[in-house]
Structures are given as C-alpha cells and as structure tokens.
C-alpha cells in the first residue's frame, strides 16, 4: 500500500509543476463600480493602522460597496516590496510611502498619476504637492508632512538658554557635560543621513541642486558642504561617543530617560517622550556658522500611492482623496500626531516648533539616485564623526551616490 502511494505521489509532482507553470498572473478587467470591492491598503503599525481602519469604516459608510482591508507593510518597506508583490498579483491597491521614493516608484512603473491633480493642489500644502511631482506629473495623495526639529528637556535647559546657532549649542553642551557627569547636553543620531544632511546645507547648498533634480551633482562634496561637515566633526568634542555606540534607539532612549538636554528627532517621538514623563519643548534647529536662518532639514511628505497593478484604481483613488479631506486629516492628527498635509489648524503645544522648522526645511529629493544616498551618507557620516578626512569621505560619498 505504502509503496504504491509513494509511487503515485512521485507521478503527481511533475503534473503539479506543469500545471503551475501554466498559471500566469491573469489580468482581469476592473468590474463595474457597484460590485462589492475590497481595497487592500498597506500602512505602518503604531498609529497609522488604526487610522486606516477608522477611515475605512467612514468610507464604507459613504460607499457601502467598498470595504477597506488593512495590511501591515511598514512605510520603509513598501517601495521595495511593491516591485515583487505588484507583478506577482498579491500587491495592494493603495500603499503608503515616503515621497523620496517617488523617483524609484515612477521609474519602476509601480504607481499611477494622481487623478484631479490640479484640484488637489489647491487643497494641500504647497510643499507637499511639489514633493509629489516628478517630471512635471503628480503622483500620489499626501496624507501628512513631517520634518525634524530640536527637542529640549525643560528640566535640563531653560528656554532662555536655547541656542540659536550651532556654535552656541556646542558651547552649551561642553559646559553642561563638564558640570553634569553622566549626562549629555546634546545628543543626536550621528550616523543617520536623514539628520546629518543639515550640516551640508550652509548658504543654500542643497542635495542634487536647488530643485533636487540635478542628477549629475550631489553637492555633497562642495566646499560649503565640506566646511559644514568639518564643523560636524568638531561637534565630537561636545558629544564624545563613537558613532557605532550612538544609534537611533540609544539616542532616543537617552532623551527619554532624561539623560540628554537636547535631541534632534521628529514627530513620531512626541508620544513616546510624553509617555516617558519628559517635560519637553520643540523648537527650530540652530543655524550653521555664517547663516542667519535655522539649518535646513529634510522635509518629508508621506503619501498614499495608487498601485499600477491594482484592479480597482478608481476606487483606490477615491479612497485616497477621502483621506486628504479635512475630517480625515484631523482624525489622523488625533490618532498619530502627524502634521496634516492640508491647511488646517491642529491643537498641539509642539506644533509650533515643527511648523517653524518646516519653513526652512527642504523636501528630500525624489529622483531615483536618492536610493543610493542613504547608505553612502550613513557610512560617510559615521566615518567623519569618528575622525576621518572630511574631503575624502565626501568625495567617496559623492562617487557612490552617482554610481561609481
């Protein structure tokens, strides 16, 4: 009995392989709008998931034939995952991604252009719609804007002492460290290209040029940038920790534990720091030597993109537009604390600082070359922080970004 079964099984396996080989991903036409439709939406956990679910319920109340299904794919993973899941037919109809992935998404052909782009542009913040425009066309629907700013622990530093320039900050930190052993006047995630970019932005120097679209020069090794990064290197004396020890989680934890007086981080930490019991404030970043205005940080727009592989692009676009409405933006703020992408008033003691910084922030470039920026600049920042030759590092960084 057993032997026969084994033999038969062996026969069936090639059959399965054959059958499987013929099963190509079918391309069904989108059904009529009144049929029941389920939209798969990718978003991160820890806030946005609740928002999507609630927004989904509200949407279904308006359009009873559409249900929203939330799937957890983190913001940072979505752009990479859509490349495989989309063609495979298991992708979403709508997914969240940061705007700097736009170039990658468009050149990969994974997203559809925004429907009613002109109407949308009048509703959302100008920075957001610019961020989502690539080669003159707009893609995606902005749901929140963000930047990072200077957090300060009110128990450790008075508002009057808040530094307006980086030099003042360094001086304060050195004095503070000397007076309070075991504590830090200033802490930041030094190996993270998301933050260290501010040191390269002196006097209008911007990554990939003023509009962020110059694919031939990164400006990361320009004279202004080198000067700024040298200042960054000197900051080491105000925060004497090697880069390998100063990771994001360590820096966040230090501020949350009340060990650091100042920290550079973003909105997502507002709730965790509040929960940790820190009485803190948010203000704009200090300015670089020679500049009058706060140093330019990256601003990011989080957008919902309609997948090019979706079977229901129209319904997906409608839901995305719904998410940009005033009601939903307020809801999102209440749940996640994120800055709305539209012009609406939100109630928060910390908003002031972020909005202030947002005036000086510049959107992350979204050209495809941006993908190479992160890894290269992360490593260069770490090496520079640990004392390497600034010019050499930035030259290598530039070469790595532009593709050897």
């Amino acid at each position: 009995m057993n032997r026969k079964l084994v033999f038969i099984a062996m026969l069936l396996i090639p059959a399965i392989l054959f059958a499987g080989g013929k099963k190509d991903a079918g391309t069904g036409a989108a059904p009529a709008a009144e049929k029941p439709v389920t939209l798969k939406v990718w978003e991160s956990t820890n806030g946005p998931d609740e928002f999507i679910k609630k927004a989904g319920e509200a949407f279904t109340a308006k359009y009873p034939n559409v249900t929203i299904e939330y799937v957890n794919v983190e913001l940072g993973d979505a752009a990479g995952q859509i490349a495989l899941d989309g063609p495979a037919g298991v992708g979403p109809d709508l997914f969240a991604a940061p705007h700097d992935k736009l170039g990658e998404l468009v050149s990969g052909g994974h997203v559809l252009p925004t429907v009613n782009a002109d109407a949308l542009k009048t509703e959302v913040l100008g920075a957001c719609s610019t961020a989502l425009t690539y080669s003159g066309k707009m893609y995606g629907y902005p749901v929140s804007a963000e930047t990072y700013a200077l957090f300060y622990n009110k128990a450790l530093i008075k508002e009057s002492e808040l530094p307006k320039t980086w030099e003042d900050l360094a001086a304060f930190a050195k004095k503070f460290n000397a007076a309070n052993s075991g504590k830090y006047g200033f802490i930041m995630d030094v190996g993270n290209a998301y933050y260290t970019i501010v040191f390269t932005t002196s006097d209008g120097n911007r990554l990939f040029g003023p509009s962020g679209t110059d694919t031939t020069s990164t400006n990361i090794n320009s004279a202004k940038s080198v000067k700024g990064m040298q200042f960054f290197q000197n900051l080491r004396s105000a925060l004497n920790v090697p880069s390998a020890d100063l990771t994001t989680s360590v820096a966040d934890a230090a501020f949350a534990a009340g060990t650091a007086a100042m920290h550079i981080t973003g909105l997502w930490n507002v709730v965790p720091f509040k929960d940790a019991g820190i009485d803190f404030g948010v203000t704009a970043l200090p300015s670089l030597p020679g500049d009058k205005n706060p140093s330019a940080s990256f601003s990011g727009t989080r957008a919902m993109f309609v997948s090019a592989y979706s079977d229901y692009p129209e319904e997906a676009a409608k839901f995305a537009e719904f998410l940009v409405s005033e009601e939903m933006q307020q809801l999102r703020f209440n749940i996640t604390g994120a800055l709305p992408a539209i012009n609406t008033k939100v109630d928060s003691p910390y908003m002031g600082g972020f909005l202030q910084q947002l005036d000086y922030a510049f959107p992350m470039p979204s050209i495809p070359q941006m993908g190479a920026y992160w890894e290269a600049m992360n490593n260069a920042s770490k090496n520079i922080w640990d004392g390497a030759d600034v010019q050499k590092e930035l030259d290598a960084c530039n070469a790595a970004i532009l593709g050897k």
Binding site: I13, F18, A244, A372, E375, A400
Partner: protein
Amino acid sequence: MEKILSLDGSEEKKITITASCFMGLSHIVHLKDYVKGIFFALTEVLFIVFSPVIVSKIISLITLGSPQPDLPIKQRSNSIFMLIDGILILAVIALFIVIYVISVKSAQERYREICRKKSYTSQRASITTSFSKAFPIAGLAPSFILLLVFVVVPLVFSICVAFTNYSAPAHIPPNNTVDWVGFQNFKDLMGGQATWSAGFARVALWTLTWAFFATLTCYFGGLFIAVLLKESKIKISPVFRVIFILPYAVPAVVSMLVWKNLLNGTFGTVNRTLMYFGLIGDPIPWLSSPLLAQITVIIVNMWAGFGYFMLLTMGTMTAVSQDLYEAARIDGANKFQVLGKITLPLVLYQTMPLIIMSFTHNINNFGAIFFLTGGNPTVVDSTTTSAGGTDILVTWIYKLTITLLKYNYASVIAVMIFIVLAPFAIYNFRRTKAYKEGEL
C-alpha cells in the same frame, strides 16, 4: 500489431532504438509490458502537449523580454519572471530527460530478463517487480524534486543574475527590462575600482578569519567544558550542564540584541558596571573599534555556540568503547595520558567532518554578525562599498541586495564565494572514509 521478438538477446539494439523514439513504445510493441508502457507514453504525451509553452519560455529566457512602453504595466512582460520561468522549464526538461532515460533502461532490462526467462512476464508480476525496482527512485524522488526546484533553480538563477544588469535604479522590471551583460559585473567588481577590490579582499579575508576562530573557539570551548564535566567528581555538575546549554536553547536573535545593548561602549551595562567598580577608566570600545569589534563578535559567538559542541563531544566521548579504557588502564596509563592520547584524538577524529561543516556554516553565518553589529563599525571603504568592519561576505551581500538593490553585484560575490569554497568541500568529501574506500 505484435512483432515476434527473438529471445536470444540479439535484438537489444532494436529495443533501445524503439524505446528512444517514443517513451514506452518498445514496452507496448515488443515487450508486451502494457501497463508500464502506457505510463511512459502518457508522460511523453503530456510533455508534447505542453511543448509550445516550453518552447516559448525558453525563447523568453534567451531574450529576457523587450520594453513595451505602450502596454499598461500589468500586461507587460517581466524580465525576471521570464528568467526564473525559463530556468524552471529547464529543470522540468531535465526531469523529463531523466524519466526518458529510465524508460529506455527499463526496456533494456526487461528485454534481458525476458531473454533469460525465455518467456514474457505476466502483467501482475511486471507491476510487482516494477514497484520493487521503483523504490530507490521513489525514495529519492521527493528529495530530488525539492532540491531541484527550491535549491538548484534559485542557485542557477542567482548565477544567471550575475551576468545581467538586474539592479536599481534603471533595471527593475516590469517597467524596465533586464539584459544579459556577460562578464561586465565581474570586471566592475574586480578590475574596476581599487576601493571595491580592496574592500572585497578585506571582507573575504575577515570572513575566513572569523569562520576559523569561531569554529575553533566554539569547539574547543565546548570540548574543554565537556571534559571537565565528565572527569570532575563534582556532584552538582548536571546543574552546570543545564546552565551551559541555555545559550543554545534561547533563540539567537534575542541574545544577540541583548548583547548588542550590553556591550554598547557608552551606554551599555558592561562598561557602566566595569566603570562603577572602578575596574576601567575609559569605556572599552567593544563594538566601535574595528579590531575589538571583531574579537567581540567571536567571543559572543562562542558564548552562543559552545553548548552545542559540549553536547556533541560529551556524546562522542560516552560512545567511545570502554575496552580501550580498560586496555589503557591495564597498561598503567594515568588520567591525563588516557585523556590526551586516547579520548581526545578519537573524539577529534570522529567529529572532524562536523567541525568542517561548522566551518563552512560559519562562513555563511549571517545571524551571528548581523544582529550583533550589523556589520559596524564603519571603516574607510564603507562609504563606497557599504561593507562595515565586521561584515562577512554574506552580510555584505544582504546589504547589497536588500538596501541597495544591486542584485547583480550581490550575485557576483556569491558566485565568487562559491568558487572559492567548493574545492574545500569537495576535498573534504573526498577525504571521508566512505568515499575513499569506494564503498559509497
């Protein structure tokens, strides 16, 4: 139409030819072996039915599709899917050929058997002997097919990718096509830039060093403890045995994350405790100095791995025949001599293949490095190559694949690892007793 076959063995050639023309033909026509013949014939029919699909997939494999900017993206052909499908079809063809060869051989054997017995076998007898003969095939079939589909095909795919330009930003399907580029990637990585070649050499050298020391420390650490446990007369040694096996029982990822935080030079508990007790003045850069980080990684890996070898060597030691010990004792050997001249050499010899297995495993030991250091700290060439001070080849490949989406470069490195390591494995295999004695 029944041909009368002469049963004196002279028509073997005819049988072979008929069997080769069409599977099962000679079974049905000459050998009166209907069941088997029909089975083989059906397989060939199935294959022929699917042959248009097969041919088209092979063509796609060669061309890897062409850009079709007019079609909406859902309907465009996907170069990578084509590549994979093509390789799968090659595997299916290989399988088909194997079955074909089996059918021909079966026809030949059946003929010889008939000649010997001077009569045709009944259907039932034929089926019974078939099942018996089929056992080795059936036994191997699941492994063979699983390996073919899930190991060989991905491997061939990986090697193929090394000869394409599948990478971000310009060659990610389905919007773009991927093309064959021959040896271009190899040239880039090896000749190209000095930094890349230097980086590659550095990472390769460290990978070998790491694997060597990791295996060494785990093995001898475990052996040392095993000997102590066995020889000592401490009554509570089973308690210690349990304690020592704990790192092996706790999931590695958890322990690595904890170690990572404990060993953080500035904020970690280890340094803070040491400084609290005044044992050190400045924090020890466990994970931030390249050299020290490498040593730390080896030590932490030993923490996690010695338990396994402790159990292994303990088991081997208990399996050593008591007669040897008796003989030694009669000859007047003391404990140390017995240990050094009998136990240890025996244990070493018997576990040698496992040691070598462990070495090759450590060469590709992703988890031990990635979760502890992530490849950090960065070194001079990190900005260009993305390889950190503790990165071994596999973690570097991971970064290249997942973060930078440079699948083609990652594949080139993988191919090179394989070329270097394969001779080791072949050599090791040849040296095993069973192979040498030909008694495989």
